[in-house]
Amino acid sequence: MRVMAQLAMVMNLDKCIGCHTCSVTCKQAWTNRSGVEYVWFNNVETRPGQGYPRTYQNQEKWRGGWELSRRGRLRLKAGGRLRKLATIFANPLMPSIQDYYEPWTYDYDRLFSAPAQQDTPVARPRSLITGEPTKITWSANWDDNLAGAPKLTAADPVLAKVSDQVKLEFEQAFMFYLPRICEHCLNPSCVASCPSGAMYKRSEDGIVLVDQDRCRGWRMCVTGCPYKKVYFNHRTGKAEKCTFCYPRVEVGLPTVCSETCVGRLRYLGLILYDVDRVAQAASVPDEKALYEAQKSVMLDPHDPEVIAAARASGIPEDWLEAAQRSPIHKLIFEYGVALPLHPEYRTMPMVWYIPPLSPVVDVLAGTGHDGEAAGNLFGAIDTLRIPVAYLAELFTAGDPEPVRAVLRRLAAMRSYMREVNLGRPRDESIATAVGMTGDQVEEMYRLLAIAAYDERYVIPTAHAERAEALEESVTGCSLDYEGGPGMAGPFGEASGMPAPVAVESFHALRERQTADEPERADELRGRVNLLNWDGKGIPEGLFPSRKEKR
């Protein structure tokens, strides 16, 4: 057993109101640059719908993820190593910018520069790709809230799989939101597809990253990812993807999308898993068994054997302790309400979802029944085949049983807590009907509904202490501390390697370039780091110190 730690996320879809705050804040933090105008590391899709990029779930077309060969071995669906190199000059499975959408801006200047005239001047849309005036016909959430549903949802690849009983009549339509980020898979097919070896999984926390210095722009990762969550920066010619906000989680702060989620529906925590068993679990022949197979790879952090193995694998004590408090582990195992997104891609995704009960409750309430009575709800989950089948195609490769079990637990929680809130005696039978105890249901309620900040986010900080630095004479320079003379390169402050996360260096550099007078040398060190700012007060160094009048 080789134990590795993985930072994972669970999203509670029942609480998502589709406000796109996560998408917008993520974009502001990471992709508000040219070349990635069309990129949303975090996007929110309305389901049923085509998704972003359009119909990305149709793997017969895009061929992302893994498949089993005839001999039962894992292989990349888009073709193995030789095929990759043979098609490297023109990737036949690369989505075009139109499959995402053509980003645009508006001719805002027109509003000011137009001469006095009878009609109000108009800011026309202009393509950010060609620079020409354009007609906006698609975007990352064009079919938001089932917009254009009768025409557009028919192309939903997930809906196509449950098509025999699909009802697209408006009054019978159901919908929910699906926020998506990179899955940071245990068996990432994007990493396996990268010819340069620039993509990697961090061995400490399992975050999948692109080394921007080693990426050569061969574009195979875009094809390899079945979730289409690796993007090509068309200006720099390099791949970019969700970073799980590593500069933030390294210091114990939640990702930007989690922090800003108004519904508090995201949970962050550690999962311990056995890296030796990943490939074996990913090659289970039956797609419907993949959900259980992935669960079998994840380890119980309370098991003494696992703890011993984790220590032997070099996992620090505070990480072990964080794994034991992990909300993710609770939601997947103790409460059993979180499910992986598309396990049939065989990548072992690590962003899991609590499927929404709301469509069921809504339909039930619409028929005039009491939508929160346990009996009614249990019955409705079983009879409302369409939402369950649809959810099963998303989360369990089409097996309705696990979805049904999760929805029954969520329904039980609603009914049980209603009794509590109305001051009636606790009905233990509701809890036992779904294989839980009343106490467990209340704990789950606390985690899902109250969702206290420090219970939602259990993030151990990265270990930056350097034991080897104690032997400084052998391994390091004793002046290499922050603000020390060793920090600058040999030719002054701006020489040497650039700071990896450029917010602080960006500000320092801009300040210097736009200053009217030479900056004082010591002021250049007044760097500000907004990524680690917790929102309280004014971060040190954000504003230049007021200069004395002379």
Binding site: F89, T130, S196, R202, T236, E465, Y481, E482
Partner: protein
């Protein structure tokens, strides 16, 4: 042999080689981020899917042909039982096919670059210079072959150009060998030297990092969080330095 010959066939090749090697070292050290193919497939894929493989596979065969013709001495192939006639026929046929493929591919790619709006917008001045030099070198090379074989009875460059080429690398340059070579061959060699000199500063650098290692490396790459580059600040000492203020 005059000063011009020395300049062209001794000084220039060493200059080009030096710039080629040192340029790559410099670029690799200081501009790893810029080291990319800068693919434009996102903008346009229909023409690229014909033009790009045609060009790239063509130029790879051309490269192999140059290795065979320039690096391997005539005596070796003759010892292996391949006579001048057989070699020449093979080289001309294979070289012409590959050359025509390369030029056709390049023509499609340049046409695409000029006519597809987003692709043209993404073309830098550096790219234009590179395309011009690349096209010039390839056209001159194919022209030299065709002219020599269609007008004359072929030209045995393996007694002149090839020994000169090898003489550069064994540091005993023999410029005299190049002095009486047909002018098209001379022009081809000269433009190639210019191309090699600008090579490290263009997108062509992607050739040096062709991902051969992909064939042997394990699929999933794990890397440890690098203590030096991760995070945003350097580790602090566990004590406060004594302030001098």
């Amino acid at each position: 042999m005059n000063a011009l010959d020395t300049l062209l066939w001794v000084v220039a090749p060493y200059l080009a080689l030096t710039v080629f090697v040192l340029g790559h070292v410099w670029r690799y050290r200081y501009d790893k981020f810029g080291w990319t193919t800068r693919s434009s497939q996102m903008y346009e894929s229909r023409l690229l899917r014909i033009g790009s493989p045609l060009f790239h596979f063509g130029i790879l065969v051309v490269l192999l042909g140059h290795v065979g013709g320039l690096v391997i001495p005539k005596t070796w192939t003759e010892a292996a039982g391949i006579g001048e006639e057989a070699y020449h026929l093979g080289a001309v046929v294979l070289g012409t096919i590959a050359g025509v493929c390369t030029i056709a591919g390049l023509a499609i790619l340049i046409y695409r670059r000029r006519t597809v709006g987003p692709v043209f917008t993404a073309t830098t001045r550096n790219d234009k210079l590179m395309y011009a030099l690349l096209a010039l070198t390839i056209v001159l090379g194919l022209a030299a072959t065709l002219v020599a074989n269609v007008l004359g009875g072929g030209y045995d460059y393996r007694t002149t150009v090839s020994p000169w080429f090898r003489s550069i690398f064994i540091l005993q340059p023999e410029p005299a060998l190049m002095a009486r070579v047909p002018v098209l061959f001379q022009l081809h060699a000269a433009s190639a030297m210019v191309l090699f000199a600008v090579w490290p500063f263009t997108r062509l650098v992607h050739m040096l990092t062709a991902p051969i290692g992909y064939l042997t490396r394990p699929y999933i790459v794990y890397r440890s969080r690098d203590a030096k580059t991760a995070g945003t600040r350097a580790p602090r000492p566990g004590w406060d330095p004594i302030t001098r203020r």
